[in-house]
Point group: C2
Chain length 105, copies 2
């Protein structure tokens, strides 16, 4: 779903990735990390889509919340497994959302 | 592909959308707009993925480039057709990329 974020400013972590052929354990870990992220202080929302590449965007209150989530022990393990097994390439961009607008029928 | 953007700072336009059932003309317009965007001053790259939702991120040198692209006459027409035909909902977020890092095997 489209994340229902508050008024800017807030932060976005844009995670763009290319997967390996190895699917073992990936989906379970993705679900687990999404659930765990939701429980972190400063978490504001999450959006994700994948076809030839994957784009996941998580939204956060501030840089401190992002730093803490990056260093969360279970998340560190997931990052390690991602590098070892599931991703052939990824790029992470930390961005400050300054403006937003939307359309709905 | 993962966009090969320069060192931050630069800007990201995160476009998250839900499509209607109407596919007529959509793909042609999407390709046309991606080609046209590439030719604009300040364009840095583009990433896109869709499953239940779509996430497209375009990268730009500065806010002025984004403003000009938003008001480009052919792009304005595409935006109108998008609202009328192709999207049931979307959200646009303009964000300043402050930091990035990547992984590659």
């Amino acid at each position: 779903m489209i994340a229902d974020t508050p008024s800017p400013p807030y932060y976005a972590v844009i995670f763009t990735s290319i997967r390996t052929e190895n699917k073992e354990g990936y989906q379970e870990m993705a679900v687990k990390m999404e659930e765990l992220a939701k429980q972190q202080p400063g978490y504001l929302g999450f959006e994700s889509a994948r076809d030839t590449i994957g784009i996941s965007v998580s939204y956060w209150k501030d840089l401190e919340s992002i730093r803490k989530w990056k260093k969360h022990s279970e998340h560190l393990l997931a990052q390690e497994m991602g590098i070892k097994n599931w991703y052939s390439r990824y790029k992470v961009r930390i961005a400050r959302v300054e403006r937003d607008y939307d359309f709905s029928v």
